[in-house]
């Protein structure tokens, strides 16, 4: 009994020392914590940029929570986050509440299919038909007699909002569809579900091909950097960071945005397979 108590006591002391240390450090070097978050598409850029940014600004600790574009913006408005990542344009209500976007990269949305699907290309019309539920079997678009399994993102997703606006504006997407949580989850589900089709940020396209799926051409145009830049690929959008009001000079948020727009930041964008702004 005494042994157990002593062990517990030691554990408690160690724990409190460790934590006290943490707090001490915080006050000694005045480490400031910043919470950013939002789009899962912007996440790889943020997660790669943050370590580099922290090296340049040693008193700052930034975290980026992947919540989805909509959640990120609403948390920004609530004050939990000071910067949000978004892969869709702002809604009117968000603009009215004071949100302002800064473009940090361009991105295409590519469409992937499971390896059992023999189709290699779809027209925008066919794509719309599939995602709104009008077309339900692959043989309706020239493939095998196989049910089409549609994979969507959840409703916080900016990628989903952008895709729906471009492909089937105003018409509701198919309800009886598999809902995936993030870009990577879409890729896993496409790879694992026969007959499936889903959309994903272009930078994540390699996950689909690596897992055995394939990427479609839309209207016979391949989804790549060139075609997004010369506007021949129809499904593309910009990636943003969102702040309340224009980012103020001297704030860490502004410094981070400037970093993303700098040469080093844009290199990071390209390394993560997004499209640089310059």
């Amino acid at each position: 009994m005494k042994k157990i108590l002593t062990i517990l006591l030691i554990l408690m002391m160690v724990t409190s020392v460790v934590f006290a240390q943490g707090r001490q450090e915080t006050s000694k070097t005045a480490t400031e914590n910043y919470s950013f978050g939002g789009s899962s598409t912007v996440a790889p850029i943020a997660n790669s940029a943050i370590p580099a940014f922290e090296v340049k600004n040693p008193n700052v600790k930034v975290s980026y929570e992947t919540l989805g574009s909509s959640t990120g913006i609403s948390q920004l408005l609530e004050g939990t986050l000071s910067l949000a990542g978004s892969s869709r344009v702002l809604k009117d209500s968000e603009v009215k509440d004071g949100c302002v976007t800064t473009t940090i990269a361009l991105d295409g949305i590519t469409v992937g299919v499971n390896e059992t699907v023999s189709i290699a290309n779809l027209s925008m019309q066919q794509l719309k038909g599939i995602f709104t539920g009008e077309i339900t079997n692959w043989n309706e678009v020239g493939g095998l007699d196989q049910k089409i399994e549609v994979i969507l993102r959840d409703e916080a997703s900016g990628t989903r909002a952008s895709f729906e606006e471009i492909v089937h504006n105003k018409i509701a997407p198919k309800q009886n569809a598999i809902v995936a949580h993030e870009n990577g989850d879409v890729a896993s589900k496409i790879a694992a579900t026969p007959g499936s089709i889903g959309y994903i940020g272009m930078a994540f396209g390699s996950i689909i091909t690596e897992a055995g799926g394939s990427l479609l051409t839309i209207d016979n145009v391949k989804a790549n950097v060139e075609n997004v830049l010369n506007n021949t690929y129809p499904i593309s959008r910009a990636l943003y960071v969102v702040t309340i009001g224009q980012p103020k000079e001297g704030t860490t948020e502004k410094a981070f945005i400037d970093f993303l727009l700098s040469e080093e930041g844009q290199e990071i964008v390209a390394e993560n397979q997004f499209i640089r702004l310059n």
Binding site: L67, G68, T71, E155, A172, N176, I178, T193, P194
Partner: protein, 295 residues
């Protein structure tokens, strides 16, 4: 003089300690109370926008549409279906295991069985989900059709998860059956099976029912495992091999980004879930109380 002071100190420590211990004991009931209050508190604003009738009976859940719809009927039915499948699969297996353990308790195999049940109980739900996703979903897809992610897959995984719950409690019930009763049955020439099916099980029935009800409660409340294998389509699942969404899956999927009425609707779902489980648990308490009184 010193002794008197020391005695007073000891008495004070005595009553002080008693108070602290009482408080510790009260924490559970206070927590339950707070949970109900907080969840209901967040849930009630839903009623400003949505009628109770629409919430419980409409199968359309589309919170981001304009106008939004908040009907959880499909989820209620899905939770019910998944639990039913789980119980149908789990009850025969658990009862068999329980009977084996209580009636054939001596040999080594029974020991292995006991260990297996304990280990199964200890496996975290996320790992059941991972196993379900990579092994059960393709299995269901190949044998039953559909895309594998289905209420059926969810039911299968839940069945494995609630086995320990049902077995543990039923075993207690079976072992409490009076040995005299059993002996008289054997003395009258009944076969083992006849003794089990006609004497032991009926005598332990209330304990068995309690264990099943608790298993039911566990199945309804499970979230992560079903989330990964159920498909998560917010529609009415017509057949067990269709994708569906249970009440728990609905909460965890939308909670991250829901605001205002959408959020309260999710808390309403949670409140419903909580209510059902509290009622189930109270029933179990009642059953065991009555059993104790009978004795």
């Amino acid at each position: 003089m010193a002794t008197l002071r020391k005695n007073n100190l000891r008495k004070a420590t005595e009553s002080g300690s008693r108070a602290i211990l009482l408080l510790s004991a009260m924490i559970s009931i206070i927590a339950v109370f707070l949970i109900i209050v907080f969840i209901l508190g967040q849930a009630l604003p839903t009623l400003k926008q949505v009628s109770l009738k629409e919430f419980f009976f409409s199968t359309t859940w589309y919170p981001t549409q304009d106008p939004p719809h908040y009907g959880v009927a499909s989820f209620i039915i899905a939770s019910f279906e998944v639990t039913l499948i789980a119980l149908i699969l789990a009850i025969p297996v658990s009862l068999s295991a329980t009977i084996y353990l209580s009636q054939f308790a001596k040999n080594k195999l029974a020991q292995i069985l006991r260990t297996s049940i304990e280990l199964l109980a200890g496996i975290p739900s996320i790992i059941y989900g991972l196993f379900g996703l990579s092994a059960i979903v393709p299995f269901v897809r190949n044998i039953f059709g559909g895309n594998g992610m289905s209420l059926l897959s969810a039911g299968i995984i839940l069945a494995i998860m609630i086995l320990p719950t049902i077995i543990n409690l039923s075993e207690v019930a079976l072992s409490n059956v009076s040995q005299d009763l059993i002996n008289s049955s054997i003395a009258m020439g009944a076969t083992k099976w006849q003794t089990i099916s006609r004497i032991i099980i009926p005598a332990a029935m209330s304990g068995i029912v309690s264990s099943i009800v608790l298993g039911l409660g566990r199945a309804i409340g499970e979230t992560t495992a079903v989330l990964l294998v159920g498909g998560n389509a917010p529609v009415f699942a017509k057949r067990p091999i269709d994708m569906g969404r249970t009440l728990t899956m609905n909460i965890i999927t939308d909670m991250a980004y829901a605001t205002d009425t959408h959020r309260s609707a999710l808390f309403m779902t949670g409140a419903l879930l909580l209510l059902v489980i509290l009622i189930l648990n109270l029933c179990v308490v009642q059953i065991s109380k009555r059993k104790r009184l009978e004795k």
